[in-house]
Symmetry: D2
Subunit: 163 residues, 4 copies
């Protein structure tokens, strides 16, 4: 479905994708703006490229767990959206993206002033796309990886999945 | 660590656990009350038993994704907390619980008036506990399973993990 | 796709499925017989019902890891096949099943004379089916759960995925 | 536990680790040689570096599934061992490694003459290490990614886990 603009590089895991929809960036931005949950968390869409999406979440006391760290649910929410929109960026204009499943490893307590989830596509298929995300916590100018996500996103077309 | 009060039954997957901490229920309730994120979602702790925890989340427009369903992040937040507190209920009084990793399969769009996450311990160990959760969406008096979680929780003791 | 013969029971997680293909059992048996890997492990198909499949693997020294327990790869192989054939039992006659992804929690060292993987469908969809499996180790007449699997299986039709 | 020899680079995900055990490579090789399962599959240990391990598996008809591709169980076996030994390479000399859990996304049919699993540590902790693996299928001189693994490995010391 998605032609590779460059050849995959096993060591760096960086791949260039050519999007099917030239307006992918504004489509992703509109969809993100329609996610009330992202507003409720006060998360921002900070970067969209073909096969890549970054979401930034400033720390807020409302989003903490019992020890004062960011709740895993908030960490996973931005990681899921980053991975999902990375996948969505490569989908056709009329398609919608659904998360089929995801797995998250929490690497360290989510302590910081700001959390950045970087989602990337690992394999784009017609129906299923595999994407990953990494969440970094920024504290005193230093970044620590706090979560890794690996998940499956589905391209949904040809039916009104909203109803 | 946790002695079985009854013998495990493979078909029903129901197991009775004897808690190490007789005050497990109030300990879980206090910890839940300290999770600002649960308040921010307006989730409620609706049931705690040895090795089991249920969390209920009424639908709110603030928690939706772009199609008006409950955001996967909200679904996973209550599933994670239900599984984590199910694990916590079997831990020693002085211990804290951390989510090591979790995997979620989203089974159907999270559409409903109320969402109920039921977490259960599948294997309690001294350091690691494996727990699962199922999230049901209630709509017009009918329940549909919308998510399954399988995760690993860690017992943390003997150090101040808060700092 | 698959109509429920009975209503789902949240507590027991037991569900009755009506298969689309009345010959599902012989179809699963033929496919299993065609898996050279199952022969190489000396695994046997011990039970097939709608939405359920059981695979039995006797202990063999050839399948161990460095401490003499059954290798996780062998445990996961039978768990994957049990979950996959549980899904396959509910698919149309002409369909094939592919594993999209799976997650396994290893609960205890896989020590025993015989290992039994019980796969069950948790949600059957037209394209994607979510299935789980539990692997029990039998030792001196006593069973211990050694692994839990939760995975996604895909129904493949209408193209020759073999070429 | 493991000091970083260089600073982590978020884009490349390459990190240099300093091993605790200078003889890590021969320790990993001995352990691999003791895995009867790896011999039964005819897998070879092809590379060990601090935090990295590569395992190569030539195609064999005995390891196929019903369509003639490499069975997911074989793919996951080498991915698990590669990730596990990547973790093991950073552990103390007297420690043993156990897989706690793993998740695998199967990206494409495992078709090829040779399969190479590259395991890498993403976060090394005292008790738990998070590692990933990628399995490439080589066919006519071209490599295709067929599986991604993300898992948790445990450092086991101070007790005889073999008995």
């Amino acid at each position: 479905l998605c032609k590779l603009a460059g050849k995959p590089d096993r060591e760096s895991q960086l791949t260039s994708y050519v999007p099917l929809d030239p307006d992918f960036a504004s489509r992703v931005a509109s969809s993100f703006a329609a996610q009330a949950m992202m507003r409720h968390l006060a998360a921002e869409l900070s970067r969209v490229e073909p096969g890549l999406c970054e979401i930034t979440l400033p720390f807020r006391a409302e989003l903490t767990q019992q020890h004062g760290f960011l709740h895993a649910g908030a960490v996973i929410s931005i990681a899921d959206s980053a991975a999902g929109y990375a996948a969505s960026s490569l989908m056709p204009a009329e398609a919608a993206v659904l998360t089929v499943e995801l797995k998250v490893n929490l690497l360290a307590p989510a302590r910081g002033e700001r959390f950045v989830a970087l989602g990337r596509v690992r394999r784009a298929g017609r129906t299923l796309t595999v994407a990953e995300a990494e969440v970094m916590a920024w504290r005193d100018g230093k970044a620590t990886a706090v979560a890794l996500l690996l998940g499956t996103m589905m391209t949904v077309t040809g039916r009104d999945f909203r109803s």
